[in-house]
């Protein structure tokens, strides 16, 4: 009797300790099961709506043939180069529009005018300008990334607590040192939040950019699979995008916790 109770208690303790992990696993397993059942017994053809077991098999085949790694590599390279280009330009311009009145007056209206245009809408014209190769993809992705990173950088450095600036100036900080040692770190939480939003956009735009003029990449694979009627392959692509995007987001979440550990703890 006593033993039985302690056994129950052990299970209960294990559950409490691993509650999050456990519910995560249950949630995903439940999702996959329902999906499997729906595709096998639902009204949609199993070829249009393949079950997760088929998708997993297709993923395995794609990994074995090297296609999957190649697609991931090509898309990641595009995302990275666009993200780095776009966010570098955005941070430089954002620092200037945020702190230099004349630059702000000249650039902000133009940027605000262009900002609401979805970057996907630029696909056609960018092919016109840059051709079907990598340059149009670089343009589209960096363009999409730019606005998120610019806006956050701009807000971050233009809304630095004025008292903090006064404190710094009265301690002898001015010019470049005031900028790099006070304004920049004070704006850093915003800049990192902008980068996080930017990388998410980069993954959205890369799919659109790969719809035309690509021969590899996760986005290309999804649209090409439609032409060859391979829904299982499309789903591999979708899930790959989910995992890649989630990983990129996690990297920035961690970066944010490490680099701006002091933010979000109230003012000091």
């Amino acid at each position: 009797m006593l033993q039985k109770e302690s056994f129950k208690a052990r299970i209960w303790n294990f559950y409490i300790k691993n509650q999050n992990n456990l519910t995560n696993v249950i949630s995903i397993l439940l999702f996959l099961t329902i999906w499997e059942l729906f595709s096998r017994f639902g009204s949609l053809s199993i070829n249009l709506f393949p079950p997760p077991s088929w998708v997993a098999q297709e993923l395995w085949r794609m990994i074995q043939s090297g296609m999957w790694f190649n697609d991931v590599w090509v898309s990641t390279r595009r995302v990275l180069s666009g993200f780095i280009t776009g966010s570098t330009i955005a941070i430089i311009i954002g620092l200037m529009t945020g702190r230099i009145a004349i630059v702000r007056a000249l650039l902000e209206p133009v940027i605000q005018l262009l900002r609401p245009i979805p970057s996907i809408a630029w696909v056609s014209i960018s092919i016109f300008w840059f051709g079907l190769g990598e340059s149009s993809k670089l343009f589209l992705i960096s363009y999409g990334v730019f606005f998120h990173v610019w806006l956050n950088t701009h807000i971050g450095v233009s809304t630095v607590d004025p008292t903090l600036l006064r404190a710094a100036r009265s301690l002898g900080a001015k010019g470049r040192r005031l900028f790099f040692e006070v304004i920049l770190p004070a704006g850093l939480p915003f800049i990192i939040a902008g980068l996080r939003a930017g990388v998410a956009v980069a993954f959205i735009v890369v799919v659109a950019a790969e719809l035309t003029g690509a021969s590899a990449g996760v986005g290309y694979r999804i649209s090409h699979s439609r032409e060859i009627f391979r829904a299982d392959r499309m789903m591999v692509g979708l899930m790959t995008l989910g995992v890649l995007g989630g990983m990129a987001d996690q990297i920035f979440a961690r970066l944010s916790r490490r680099l701006v550990f002091w933010a979000g703890e109230g003012r000091s």
Partner: protein, 283 residues
């Protein structure tokens, strides 16, 4: 004109064998400050404000809220420009902020990404003092405000009282000749505030910088000051200047002395007139 002998041991400069600069003379002549409010109205914050603050004097500035106490302080700090009249420190016109005039803020304004030691040595770093020297000086000031052991903590890990001690250590490191304090203990609870007041007097008795201290707490003003400047309602000007008769060093027991209560009564009566005037002004 410079009154170095106003007090025994006026040389904080000699105390501890440290070479402190003496407090500076602050002179405000017919100071006036006007500015545009956010709604575009012109605000006449300070008008015809004249006062001579002697070196090493501890002066408190009190008055109804919105009377321009902080504006006067901001002019001396070099944050706000006078629109008329003059503001001078040791005969030199104030043009911009300087580590010679250290400022302690009500909301601390510490750099949240720097730990206590780096906050305390920030001024020295900006003044290009070498690393070893500034670490040594900052450590000395941290010890002085009784924060030894907290050097590696970040502002968000500190209580309000501790943050403000960093705020004080940070300006002490630059050896200021004037300390400008804008309701520095206003956000602290009563017990912490008393401890900070005692700490401030302790520190000041070593440095003897000229202190200009804005507060709306009469007890605090009387406990700390040599002289209390009472400002009128906006536009703020000098209404009355009170010499503080309390002897130094002071302990919390001065609160119950007849001189303390008499001064408080007089200050209170005069301040109430101005608060009433300020309320009429607000309509």
């Amino acid at each position: 004109m410079f009154n170095f002998n106003s007090r025994q041991n006026s040389g904080g400069s000699e105390g501890n064998g440290k070479n402190f600069l003496p407090g500076a003379h602050v002179s405000l002549q017919s100071l006036g400050v006007r500015f545009q409010s956010a709604r575009g109205e012109e605000v006449h914050a300070v008008s015809d404000f004249s006062v001579e603050i002697e070196p090493e004097e501890f002066v408190c500035l009190i008055g109804p809220s919105g009377c321009g106490k902080s504006t006067v302080l901001n002019v001396i700090a070099g944050f706000v420009e006078a629109t008329s009249g003059s503001a001078e420190v040791d005969g030199k016109q104030i043009r911009e902020p300087s580590p010679d005039r250290g400022v302690v803020f009500q909301d601390y304004a510490l750099f949240p990404w720097l730990n206590v030691l780096d906050n305390a040595s920030f001024g020295l770093r900006m003044q290009r003092v070498d690393k070893e020297t500034r670490r040594q000086i900052a450590q000395e000031k941290i010890d002085q405000v009784h924060l030894k052991g907290f050097e590696a903590k970040y502002p968000h890990e500190l209580s309000g009282g501790m943050k403000q001690r960093v705020g004080i250590a940070r300006i002490l490191a630059s050896n200021p000749r004037v300390m400008l304090m804008d309701e520095p203990f206003g956000a602290l609870d009563a017990q912490t505030r008393e401890m900070m007041q005692e700490l401030l007097l302790e520190v000041w008795s070593q440095y003897k910088a000229t202190v200009i201290f804005v507060t709306h707490d009469l007890d605090e003003a009387i406990f700390l000051s040599d002289k209390i400047i009472l400002m009128s309602a906006r536009p703020g000007t000098v209404k009355e200047i009170y010499e503080n008769p309390l002897k130094r060093p002071r302990e919390l027991s001065v609160y119950t002395t007849a001189e303390f209560m008499d001064l408080k009564r007089r200050l209170n009566a005069s301040l109430r007139e101005e608060i009433a005037a300020a309320m009429d002004l607000a309509g």
